[in-house]
Subunit: 233 residues, 2 copies
Amino acid sequence: MGSVKTKRMPRAVREQQMLDAAVKTFGQRGYMAASMDEIAELAGVSKPLVYLYLNSKESLFSACIRREAATLVEAVRSGVRPGTSADRRLWEGLQAFFTHTARNPDGWAILHLQARTHGEPFAAEVAAMREEIVAFVTRLIAVAARDGGTPCSNGAESLGDHGDPALPEHEVAGLAEALVGAAESLAAWANVTPGVSARQAAATLMNFAWAGLGDLMEGRPWSPPPPQAEAPR
Amino acid sequence: MGSVKTKRMPRAVREQQMLDAAVKTFGQRGYMAASMDEIAELAGVSKPLVYLYLNSKESLFSACIRREAATLVEAVRSGVRPGTSADRRLWEGLQAFFTHTARNPDGWAILHLQARTHGEPFAAEVAAMREEIVAFVTRLIAVAARDGGTPCSNGAESLGDHGDPALPEHEVAGLAEALVGAAESLAAWANVTPGVSARQAAATLMNFAWAGLGDLMEGRPWSPPPPQAEAPR
Protein backbone atom coordinates (compact mmCIF):
# COMPACT_ATOMS: atom_id res chain seq x y z
CA MET A 1 0.00 0.00 0.00
CA GLY A 2 2.87 2.36 0.90
CA SER A 3 4.45 1.98 -2.51
CA VAL A 4 1.34 3.07 -4.37
CA LYS A 5 1.34 6.65 -5.60
CA THR A 6 -1.22 8.70 -3.72
CA LYS A 7 -1.52 11.53 -6.26
CA ARG A 8 -4.01 11.50 -9.13
CA MET A 9 -5.60 8.31 -7.96
CA PRO A 10 -9.29 7.70 -8.70
CA ARG A 11 -11.47 8.60 -5.76
CA ALA A 12 -12.80 5.04 -5.43
CA VAL A 13 -9.29 3.63 -5.09
CA ARG A 14 -8.29 6.22 -2.52
CA GLU A 15 -11.46 5.60 -0.55
CA GLN A 16 -10.66 1.91 -0.40
CA GLN A 17 -7.21 2.74 0.95
CA MET A 18 -8.76 4.90 3.63
CA LEU A 19 -11.16 2.10 4.51
CA ASP A 20 -8.29 -0.41 4.64
CA ALA A 21 -6.47 1.85 7.09
CA ALA A 22 -9.64 2.49 9.09
CA VAL A 23 -10.57 -1.19 9.40
CA LYS A 24 -7.08 -1.98 10.64
CA THR A 25 -7.08 0.87 13.15
CA PHE A 26 -10.63 0.39 14.45
CA GLY A 27 -10.16 -3.38 14.63
CA GLN A 28 -6.90 -3.21 16.56
CA ARG A 29 -7.37 -0.15 18.77
CA GLY A 30 -11.13 -0.15 19.18
CA TYR A 31 -13.53 2.53 17.98
CA MET A 32 -13.02 4.95 20.87
CA ALA A 33 -9.23 4.87 20.94
CA ALA A 34 -8.74 5.01 17.16
CA SER A 35 -7.76 8.47 15.95
CA MET A 36 -8.43 10.03 12.59
CA ASP A 37 -4.79 11.22 12.52
CA GLU A 38 -3.61 7.64 12.75
CA ILE A 39 -6.00 6.47 10.05
CA ALA A 40 -4.98 9.26 7.68
CA GLU A 41 -1.29 8.54 8.27
CA LEU A 42 -1.72 4.82 7.69
CA ALA A 43 -3.67 5.54 4.50
CA GLY A 44 -0.94 7.93 3.35
CA VAL A 45 -3.31 10.87 2.94
CA SER A 46 -4.05 14.09 4.81
CA LYS A 47 -6.65 14.15 7.55
CA PRO A 48 -8.80 16.78 5.78
CA LEU A 49 -8.99 14.45 2.79
CA VAL A 50 -10.37 11.65 4.99
CA TYR A 51 -13.02 14.06 6.29
CA LEU A 52 -13.75 15.30 2.79
CA TYR A 53 -14.33 11.75 1.51
CA LEU A 54 -15.95 10.14 4.52
CA ASN A 55 -17.38 13.03 6.55
CA SER A 56 -16.80 12.00 10.15
CA LYS A 57 -15.36 9.28 12.36
CA GLU A 58 -18.91 7.89 12.74
CA SER A 59 -19.58 7.66 9.04
CA LEU A 60 -16.10 6.26 8.39
CA PHE A 61 -16.84 3.54 10.96
CA SER A 62 -20.24 2.86 9.35
CA ALA A 63 -18.57 2.55 5.96
CA CYS A 64 -16.12 0.02 7.44
CA ILE A 65 -18.96 -2.04 8.90
CA ARG A 66 -20.85 -2.03 5.61
CA ARG A 67 -17.81 -3.02 3.56
CA GLU A 68 -16.71 -5.77 5.94
CA ALA A 69 -20.25 -7.14 6.26
CA ALA A 70 -20.69 -7.23 2.48
CA THR A 71 -17.37 -8.99 1.84
CA LEU A 72 -18.06 -11.56 4.56
CA VAL A 73 -21.52 -12.40 3.21
CA GLU A 74 -20.11 -12.58 -0.31
CA ALA A 75 -17.26 -14.89 0.81
CA VAL A 76 -19.70 -17.33 2.42
CA ARG A 77 -22.13 -17.25 -0.49
CA SER A 78 -19.51 -17.81 -3.13
CA GLY A 79 -17.85 -20.55 -1.08
CA VAL A 80 -20.93 -22.75 -1.24
CA ARG A 81 -21.47 -24.53 -4.53
CA PRO A 82 -25.06 -25.45 -5.28
CA GLY A 83 -25.84 -28.99 -6.34
CA THR A 84 -23.61 -30.78 -3.86
CA SER A 85 -24.79 -32.67 -0.77
CA ALA A 86 -26.08 -30.77 2.26
CA ASP A 87 -23.15 -31.63 4.50
CA ARG A 88 -20.68 -30.73 1.75
CA ARG A 89 -22.39 -27.36 1.31
CA LEU A 90 -22.28 -26.69 5.05
CA TRP A 91 -18.63 -27.74 5.17
CA GLU A 92 -17.82 -25.38 2.27
CA GLY A 93 -19.74 -22.55 3.90
CA LEU A 94 -17.95 -23.02 7.21
CA GLN A 95 -14.55 -23.19 5.54
CA ALA A 96 -15.31 -20.01 3.62
CA PHE A 97 -16.49 -18.27 6.78
CA PHE A 98 -13.52 -19.22 8.94
CA THR A 99 -11.02 -18.58 6.15
CA HIS A 100 -12.45 -15.11 5.65
CA THR A 101 -12.55 -14.22 9.36
CA ALA A 102 -9.01 -15.58 9.86
CA ARG A 103 -7.65 -13.56 6.92
CA ASN A 104 -9.53 -10.44 8.01
CA PRO A 105 -9.24 -10.46 11.80
CA ASP A 106 -9.62 -6.68 12.01
CA GLY A 107 -12.75 -6.74 9.90
CA TRP A 108 -14.17 -9.53 12.05
CA ALA A 109 -13.28 -7.67 15.26
CA ILE A 110 -15.23 -4.69 13.90
CA LEU A 111 -18.30 -6.75 13.05
CA HIS A 112 -18.39 -9.05 16.04
CA LEU A 113 -17.08 -6.77 18.76
CA GLN A 114 -16.66 -3.10 17.91
CA ALA A 115 -19.91 -2.56 16.03
CA ARG A 116 -21.92 -4.16 18.80
CA THR A 117 -20.14 -2.28 21.54
CA HIS A 118 -20.62 1.30 20.41
CA GLY A 119 -24.28 2.07 20.23
CA GLU A 120 -27.39 1.47 18.23
CA PRO A 121 -26.80 2.70 14.68
CA PHE A 122 -23.67 0.55 14.30
CA ALA A 123 -25.27 -2.45 16.00
CA ALA A 124 -28.21 -2.21 13.58
CA GLU A 125 -25.88 -2.47 10.56
CA VAL A 126 -24.40 -5.70 11.89
CA ALA A 127 -27.83 -7.05 12.83
CA ALA A 128 -28.93 -6.64 9.20
CA MET A 129 -25.92 -8.61 7.92
CA ARG A 130 -26.50 -11.28 10.55
CA GLU A 131 -30.12 -11.69 9.46
CA GLU A 132 -28.95 -12.24 5.91
CA ILE A 133 -26.55 -14.99 7.02
CA VAL A 134 -29.19 -16.61 9.25
CA ALA A 135 -31.63 -16.63 6.31
CA PHE A 136 -28.97 -18.23 4.10
CA VAL A 137 -28.25 -20.94 6.70
CA THR A 138 -31.97 -21.48 7.31
CA ARG A 139 -32.50 -22.22 3.62
CA LEU A 140 -29.50 -24.53 3.61
CA ILE A 141 -30.83 -26.53 6.58
CA ALA A 142 -34.40 -26.54 5.23
CA VAL A 143 -33.29 -27.94 1.89
CA ALA A 144 -31.07 -30.50 3.63
CA ALA A 145 -33.93 -31.55 5.90
CA ARG A 146 -36.24 -31.90 2.92
CA ASP A 147 -33.71 -33.85 0.86
CA GLY A 148 -32.46 -35.96 3.73
CA GLY A 149 -35.93 -36.79 5.00
CA THR A 150 -38.08 -39.77 4.19
CA PRO A 151 -37.74 -41.05 0.63
CA CYS A 152 -41.33 -39.98 0.02
CA SER A 153 -40.65 -36.34 0.91
CA ASN A 154 -40.01 -34.49 -2.31
CA GLY A 155 -40.99 -30.86 -1.99
CA ALA A 156 -41.20 -27.88 0.32
CA GLU A 157 -44.51 -29.16 1.65
CA SER A 158 -42.71 -32.03 3.33
CA LEU A 159 -41.20 -29.59 5.82
CA GLY A 160 -43.10 -30.19 9.01
CA ASP A 161 -45.79 -32.29 7.43
CA HIS A 162 -44.33 -35.62 8.52
CA GLY A 163 -43.62 -35.97 12.20
CA ASP A 164 -40.39 -37.83 11.86
CA PRO A 165 -37.46 -37.12 9.61
CA ALA A 166 -38.36 -33.75 8.13
CA LEU A 167 -37.82 -30.95 10.60
CA PRO A 168 -40.59 -28.48 11.47
CA GLU A 169 -39.95 -25.00 10.03
CA HIS A 170 -39.78 -23.62 13.50
CA GLU A 171 -37.04 -26.04 14.49
CA VAL A 172 -35.09 -25.20 11.34
CA ALA A 173 -35.08 -21.51 12.27
CA GLY A 174 -33.79 -22.36 15.75
CA LEU A 175 -31.05 -24.60 14.37
CA ALA A 176 -29.92 -21.83 12.02
CA GLU A 177 -29.72 -19.38 14.93
CA ALA A 178 -27.73 -21.91 16.94
CA LEU A 179 -25.32 -22.58 14.08
CA VAL A 180 -24.69 -18.92 13.34
CA GLY A 181 -24.16 -18.16 17.04
CA ALA A 182 -21.72 -21.06 17.30
CA ALA A 183 -19.80 -19.86 14.23
CA GLU A 184 -19.54 -16.28 15.53
CA SER A 185 -18.31 -17.43 18.88
CA LEU A 186 -15.79 -19.87 17.43
CA ALA A 187 -14.40 -17.33 14.94
CA ALA A 188 -13.72 -14.85 17.73
CA TRP A 189 -12.04 -17.61 19.76
CA ALA A 190 -9.99 -18.94 16.84
CA ASN A 191 -8.65 -15.47 16.05
CA VAL A 192 -7.21 -15.01 19.53
CA THR A 193 -6.09 -18.61 20.15
CA PRO A 194 -2.62 -19.41 18.81
CA GLY A 195 -2.38 -22.49 16.64
CA VAL A 196 -6.03 -22.75 15.58
CA SER A 197 -6.23 -22.64 11.79
CA ALA A 198 -9.32 -21.69 9.82
CA ARG A 199 -9.63 -25.28 8.66
CA GLN A 200 -9.46 -26.60 12.21
CA ALA A 201 -12.11 -24.16 13.40
CA ALA A 202 -14.33 -25.15 10.47
CA ALA A 203 -13.76 -28.86 11.22
CA THR A 204 -14.59 -28.38 14.92
CA LEU A 205 -17.86 -26.69 14.07
CA MET A 206 -18.67 -29.17 11.32
CA ASN A 207 -18.16 -32.01 13.79
CA PHE A 208 -20.24 -30.24 16.40
CA ALA A 209 -23.03 -29.33 14.03
CA TRP A 210 -23.18 -32.45 11.90
CA ALA A 211 -21.97 -35.38 13.96
CA GLY A 212 -23.02 -33.89 17.30
CA LEU A 213 -21.31 -34.29 20.64
CA GLY A 214 -22.92 -37.72 21.11
CA ASP A 215 -21.16 -39.20 18.09
CA LEU A 216 -17.95 -37.29 18.82
CA MET A 217 -17.80 -38.77 22.30
CA GLU A 218 -17.95 -42.21 20.80
CA GLY A 219 -15.27 -41.51 18.26
CA ARG A 220 -17.50 -40.95 15.25
CA PRO A 221 -16.63 -37.52 13.86
CA TRP A 222 -18.09 -36.22 10.64
CA SER A 223 -15.98 -37.15 7.61
CA PRO A 224 -15.97 -35.26 4.34
CA PRO A 225 -17.73 -37.06 1.49
CA PRO A 226 -15.29 -38.81 -0.89
CA PRO A 227 -13.61 -36.50 -3.42
CA GLN A 228 -15.48 -37.95 -6.41
CA ALA A 229 -18.61 -36.30 -5.02
CA GLU A 230 -17.05 -32.90 -5.70
CA ALA A 231 -17.86 -30.98 -8.83
CA PRO A 232 -14.81 -29.96 -10.86
CA ARG A 233 -13.52 -26.48 -9.95
CA MET B 1 -43.43 -4.88 44.55
CA GLY B 2 -45.92 -2.01 44.58
CA SER B 3 -47.61 -3.33 47.70
CA VAL B 4 -44.42 -3.38 49.74
CA LYS B 5 -43.97 -0.42 52.09
CA THR B 6 -41.11 1.77 50.96
CA LYS B 7 -40.43 3.44 54.31
CA ARG B 8 -38.08 2.00 56.94
CA MET B 9 -36.98 -0.74 54.65
CA PRO B 10 -33.47 -2.16 54.99
CA ARG B 11 -31.07 -0.64 52.50
CA ALA B 12 -30.33 -4.00 50.88
CA VAL B 13 -34.01 -4.60 50.13
CA ARG B 14 -34.49 -1.14 48.72
CA GLU B 15 -31.40 -1.52 46.56
CA GLN B 16 -32.80 -4.73 45.12
CA GLN B 17 -36.03 -2.90 44.27
CA MET B 18 -34.04 -0.22 42.49
CA LEU B 19 -32.11 -2.87 40.60
CA ASP B 20 -35.35 -4.65 39.64
CA ALA B 21 -36.69 -1.41 38.24
CA ALA B 22 -33.41 -0.60 36.51
CA VAL B 23 -33.10 -4.04 34.88
CA LYS B 24 -36.62 -3.74 33.52
CA THR B 25 -36.08 -0.21 32.23
CA PHE B 26 -32.61 -0.78 30.73
CA GLY B 27 -33.69 -4.12 29.24
CA GLN B 28 -36.81 -2.72 27.58
CA ARG B 29 -35.77 0.82 26.63
CA GLY B 30 -32.05 0.34 26.13
CA TYR B 31 -29.29 1.97 28.11
CA MET B 32 -29.31 5.31 26.31
CA ALA B 33 -33.07 5.90 26.34
CA ALA B 34 -33.63 4.75 29.93
CA SER B 35 -34.06 7.67 32.32
CA MET B 36 -33.25 7.78 36.01
CA ASP B 37 -36.64 9.44 36.61
CA GLU B 38 -38.39 6.43 35.14
CA ILE B 39 -36.31 3.99 37.16
CA ALA B 40 -36.95 5.87 40.42
CA GLU B 41 -40.67 6.02 39.71
CA LEU B 42 -40.87 2.33 38.89
CA ALA B 43 -38.94 1.51 42.08
CA GLY B 44 -41.26 3.77 44.08
CA VAL B 45 -38.45 5.93 45.45
CA SER B 46 -37.13 9.42 44.85
CA LYS B 47 -34.47 10.03 42.22
CA PRO B 48 -31.99 11.47 44.77
CA LEU B 49 -32.27 8.21 46.71
CA VAL B 50 -31.30 6.22 43.62
CA TYR B 51 -28.24 8.46 43.18
CA LEU B 52 -27.44 8.20 46.89
CA TYR B 53 -27.49 4.41 46.77
CA LEU B 54 -26.08 3.75 43.33
CA ASN B 55 -24.13 6.88 42.41
CA SER B 56 -24.76 7.33 38.71
CA LYS B 57 -26.54 5.86 35.72
CA GLU B 58 -23.27 4.14 34.76
CA SER B 59 -22.77 2.48 38.12
CA LEU B 60 -26.44 1.53 38.32
CA PHE B 61 -26.08 -0.16 34.92
CA SER B 62 -22.90 -1.91 36.08
CA ALA B 63 -24.70 -3.14 39.19
CA CYS B 64 -27.48 -4.53 36.97
CA ILE B 65 -24.97 -6.37 34.79
CA ARG B 66 -23.19 -7.86 37.80
CA ARG B 67 -26.41 -9.01 39.44
CA GLU B 68 -27.89 -10.49 36.26
CA ALA B 69 -24.62 -12.22 35.38
CA ALA B 70 -24.32 -13.73 38.86
CA THR B 71 -27.89 -15.04 38.93
CA LEU B 72 -27.56 -16.53 35.44
CA VAL B 73 -24.34 -18.37 36.28
CA GLU B 74 -25.87 -19.58 39.55
CA ALA B 75 -29.03 -20.81 37.77
CA VAL B 76 -26.99 -22.89 35.32
CA ARG B 77 -24.66 -24.28 37.99
CA SER B 78 -27.45 -25.29 40.33
CA GLY B 79 -29.47 -26.78 37.48
CA VAL B 80 -26.81 -29.39 36.73
CA ARG B 81 -26.69 -32.29 39.17
CA PRO B 82 -23.34 -34.01 39.44
CA GLY B 83 -23.20 -37.77 39.13
CA THR B 84 -25.60 -38.13 36.20
CA SER B 85 -24.65 -38.96 32.62
CA ALA B 86 -22.97 -36.36 30.44
CA ASP B 87 -25.91 -35.87 28.12
CA ARG B 88 -28.28 -35.60 31.09
CA ARG B 89 -26.06 -32.92 32.65
CA LEU B 90 -25.91 -30.98 29.41
CA TRP B 91 -29.70 -31.27 29.03
CA GLU B 92 -30.19 -30.02 32.60
CA GLY B 93 -27.77 -27.16 32.07
CA LEU B 94 -29.49 -26.10 28.86
CA GLN B 95 -32.93 -26.27 30.45
CA ALA B 96 -31.71 -24.18 33.38
CA PHE B 97 -30.16 -21.65 31.01
CA PHE B 98 -33.18 -21.25 28.73
CA THR B 99 -35.63 -21.24 31.65
CA HIS B 100 -33.65 -18.47 33.32
CA THR B 101 -33.29 -16.35 30.18
CA ALA B 102 -37.00 -16.82 29.34
CA ARG B 103 -38.07 -15.78 32.84
CA ASN B 104 -35.67 -12.84 32.89
CA PRO B 105 -35.84 -11.46 29.36
CA ASP B 106 -34.84 -7.97 30.50
CA GLY B 107 -31.83 -9.33 32.37
CA TRP B 108 -30.81 -11.33 29.30
CA ALA B 109 -31.29 -8.33 27.01
CA ILE B 110 -28.92 -6.40 29.29
CA LEU B 111 -26.25 -9.10 29.25
CA HIS B 112 -26.46 -10.14 25.63
CA LEU B 113 -27.30 -6.87 23.94
CA GLN B 114 -27.15 -3.74 26.06
CA ALA B 115 -23.92 -4.46 27.94
CA ARG B 116 -22.11 -5.24 24.69
CA THR B 117 -23.50 -2.24 22.89
CA HIS B 118 -22.46 0.59 25.21
CA GLY B 119 -18.72 0.59 25.53
CA GLU B 120 -15.81 -1.16 27.09
CA PRO B 121 -16.31 -1.22 30.87
CA PHE B 122 -19.75 -2.83 30.54
CA ALA B 123 -18.60 -5.24 27.84
CA ALA B 124 -15.75 -6.37 30.09
CA GLU B 125 -18.17 -7.33 32.88
CA VAL B 126 -20.12 -9.56 30.52
CA ALA B 127 -16.93 -11.02 29.06
CA ALA B 128 -15.91 -12.14 32.56
CA MET B 129 -19.23 -13.91 33.12
CA ARG B 130 -19.00 -15.52 29.70
CA GLU B 131 -15.54 -16.88 30.47
CA GLU B 132 -16.92 -18.47 33.60
CA ILE B 133 -19.69 -20.20 31.65
CA VAL B 134 -17.29 -21.33 28.92
CA ALA B 135 -14.98 -22.82 31.59
CA PHE B 136 -17.95 -24.64 33.13
CA VAL B 137 -19.02 -26.07 29.76
CA THR B 138 -15.42 -26.97 28.90
CA ARG B 139 -15.16 -29.08 32.05
CA LEU B 140 -18.51 -30.69 31.31
CA ILE B 141 -17.44 -31.68 27.78
CA ALA B 142 -13.97 -32.76 28.94
CA VAL B 143 -15.42 -35.07 31.59
CA ALA B 144 -17.98 -36.41 29.10
CA ALA B 145 -15.25 -37.04 26.53
CA ARG B 146 -13.16 -38.85 29.16
CA ASP B 147 -16.04 -40.96 30.43
CA GLY B 148 -17.52 -41.62 27.02
CA GLY B 149 -14.18 -42.50 25.48
CA THR B 150 -12.55 -45.88 25.11
CA PRO B 151 -13.20 -48.27 28.00
CA CYS B 152 -9.49 -48.08 28.86
CA SER B 153 -9.55 -44.31 29.34
CA ASN B 154 -9.99 -43.63 33.02
CA GLY B 155 -8.44 -40.33 33.94
CA ALA B 156 -7.71 -36.80 32.84
CA GLU B 157 -4.59 -38.04 31.08
CA SER B 158 -6.74 -39.81 28.51
CA LEU B 159 -7.74 -36.44 27.04
CA GLY B 160 -5.88 -36.23 23.80
CA ASP B 161 -3.67 -39.20 24.52
CA HIS B 162 -5.63 -41.61 22.39
CA GLY B 163 -6.22 -40.57 18.85
CA ASP B 164 -9.74 -41.80 18.59
CA PRO B 165 -12.61 -41.46 21.01
CA ALA B 166 -11.21 -39.01 23.57
CA LEU B 167 -11.18 -35.46 22.24
CA PRO B 168 -8.01 -33.36 22.25
CA GLU B 169 -8.09 -30.58 24.85
CA HIS B 170 -7.89 -28.05 22.10
CA GLU B 171 -10.97 -29.44 20.39
CA VAL B 172 -12.86 -29.46 23.70
CA ALA B 173 -12.20 -25.74 24.15
CA GLY B 174 -13.50 -25.05 20.64
CA LEU B 175 -16.61 -27.14 21.19
CA ALA B 176 -17.35 -25.26 24.42
CA GLU B 177 -17.04 -21.92 22.59
CA ALA B 178 -19.35 -23.19 19.87
CA LEU B 179 -21.93 -24.45 22.37
CA VAL B 180 -21.96 -21.23 24.40
CA GLY B 181 -22.25 -19.12 21.25
CA ALA B 182 -25.13 -21.28 20.03
CA ALA B 183 -26.92 -20.97 23.38
CA GLU B 184 -26.52 -17.18 23.46
CA SER B 185 -27.83 -16.81 19.97
CA LEU B 186 -30.76 -19.16 20.52
CA ALA B 187 -31.81 -17.50 23.80
CA ALA B 188 -31.97 -14.11 22.12
CA TRP B 189 -34.02 -15.61 19.29
CA ALA B 190 -36.35 -17.57 21.58
CA ASN B 191 -37.11 -14.45 23.62
CA VAL B 192 -38.35 -12.53 20.59
CA THR B 193 -40.04 -15.41 18.74
CA PRO B 194 -43.63 -16.06 19.80
CA GLY B 195 -44.46 -19.62 20.73
CA VAL B 196 -40.94 -20.85 21.51
CA SER B 197 -40.84 -22.15 25.08
CA ALA B 198 -37.69 -22.50 27.16
CA ARG B 199 -38.02 -26.26 26.95
CA GLN B 200 -38.31 -26.16 23.16
CA ALA B 201 -35.25 -23.94 22.85
CA ALA B 202 -33.31 -26.26 25.16
CA ALA B 203 -34.47 -29.30 23.14
CA THR B 204 -33.46 -27.66 19.85
CA LEU B 205 -29.97 -26.97 21.15
CA MET B 206 -29.68 -30.39 22.77
CA ASN B 207 -30.58 -32.01 19.46
CA PHE B 208 -28.17 -29.79 17.60
CA ALA B 209 -25.34 -30.27 20.07
CA TRP B 210 -25.75 -33.93 20.92
CA ALA B 211 -27.38 -35.66 17.98
CA GLY B 212 -25.99 -33.26 15.37
CA LEU B 213 -27.64 -32.16 12.17
CA GLY B 214 -26.63 -35.41 10.46
CA ASP B 215 -28.71 -37.55 12.80
CA LEU B 216 -31.54 -34.99 12.90
CA MET B 217 -31.83 -35.05 9.12
CA GLU B 218 -32.31 -38.78 9.29
CA GLY B 219 -34.92 -38.59 11.99
CA ARG B 220 -32.74 -39.55 14.94
CA PRO B 221 -33.04 -36.76 17.49
CA TRP B 222 -31.47 -37.01 20.92
CA SER B 223 -33.82 -38.60 23.46
CA PRO B 224 -33.59 -38.05 27.19
CA PRO B 225 -32.28 -41.05 29.13
CA PRO B 226 -35.06 -43.09 30.79
CA PRO B 227 -36.42 -41.62 34.05
CA GLN B 228 -34.90 -44.32 36.23
CA ALA B 229 -31.52 -42.84 35.39
CA GLU B 230 -32.48 -39.70 37.31
CA ALA B 231 -31.42 -39.19 40.89
CA PRO B 232 -34.31 -38.48 43.30
CA ARG B 233 -35.00 -34.77 43.73
